[in-house]
């Protein structure tokens, strides 16, 4: 019997009903993307690849901008035993339209590629592979992929990243993890952003942490402000730790 849908056929069996045939396929709809993501993972094997997800306006670009300006701080937290200086980062940023984010991030001097998706609500592995061709990956330690602002669709698409970071800002309220469980459950790390505004917007920190504990017990949680810098040291120490785990980082 077909073990998946219980339809009484073997996986490859073809049943004939009059002139009609039932084809049993059992093919994963994300198989193509997953295959391309694995290819990306090989391309990214020497570096740390981050996939950053959040709703629009949660502060992804502000965090990436700050991170690019603070690359020397990441090395200070636990210096890499490399001969060629501080961490080198490149960025792939996705938006439906405009290259405003790329322009903003290029001010830091880092190489940035903008993907404009048109009407597509998420990045896919093939788009990242294509964008990555224009970056000199061999020269990078850290690849930051800033996904399209959306808490639903990007969760389903593996891009070949090592780490998935999900941001929720204090201005969005405490219940984001309850409303969008899939994306929070897929995160290795979750960042509560804009904590400098917490008091002003009446953010209930205990409640937010409780929601994260219920929905995403697997994730590490960081609370920070990219504007004031509060909480960044912990996050940078974590990134550093993850960078050191990449096999060819320590040379």
């Amino acid at each position: 019997m077909c073990r998946n849908c219980g339809c009484g056929a073997s996986q490859t069996e073809t049943m004939t009903v009059d002139s009609r045939q039932v084809l049993h396929l059992h093919q994963n709809l994300l198989a193509k993307n997953d295959r391309l993501a694995e290819q990306n993972r090989v391309l990214f094997s020497h570096l740390l690849a981050l996939n950053i997800l959040s709703s629009p306006g949660a502060g992804k670009t502000a965090l990436v901008q700050r991170l690019l300006s603070d690359l020397d701080l990441i090395a200070v937290a636990a210096p890499l035993s490399r001969q060629d200086g501080p961490v080198k980062a490149g960025v792939i940023v996705g938006d439906l339209a405009t290259d405003r984010d790329a322009a903003r991030l290029r001010q830091t001097g880092a190489p940035v590629v903008q993907i404009t998706t048109g009407t597509l609500c998420h990045l896919e592995a093939r788009m990242v592979a294509q964008a990555a061709q224009t970056l000199n990956l061999a020269d990078l330690d850290l690849l930051i992929i800033e996904n399209v602002g959306n808490l639903v669709c990007p969760a389903a698409y593996d891009l070949g990243e090592d780490l998935r970071l999900v941001l929720m800002s204090v201005t969005e309220g405490e219940d984001k993890p309850l409303k969008y469980p899939t994306v929070f459950k897929s995160a290795q790390a979750i960042i509560i952003s804009k904590i400098d505004l917490a008091e002003m917007v009446g953010f209930n920190r205990a409640e937010a942490l409780q929601h994260l504990h219920l929905m995403a017990p697997q994730a590490l949680i960081f609370e920070l402000s990219a504007t004031t810098g509060e909480g960044l040291a912990n996050f940078y120490a974590y990134l550093n730790q993850m960078l050191l785990r990449c096999p060819s980082k320590v040379s």
Partner: protein, 113 residues
Amino acid sequence: MHEVSLMQAALTIALNHAEAEGARQIHYLTLRVGIASGVVPEALAFAFDIVSAGTAAAGAELKLKIIPTRCYCPHCQQDFQPADWVYECPACHNISTDIRQGQDLELASLEVS
């Protein structure tokens, strides 16, 4: 609405298989959709009507088989079906991070002629 992309992927697979069998028409498609897959079944159905128009699958029935979530509790060493999105073991009340079923997104079968 990544359901449109997913439905397009399902349709491409279906049309390729139908063509390989020398079939002219697809009568129905069965999709297995896990509760924890992050996909809205209604949006899939809506997308199907759009992407199938003008193809051998136009007018075909879309059967959606919803797959419940199952988690594994390492403390109790057994599977359980969570009541909602909080994957709390009914026996020990620990929260599981081990999802064993329910993330499925699969084209299971189709009928052609």
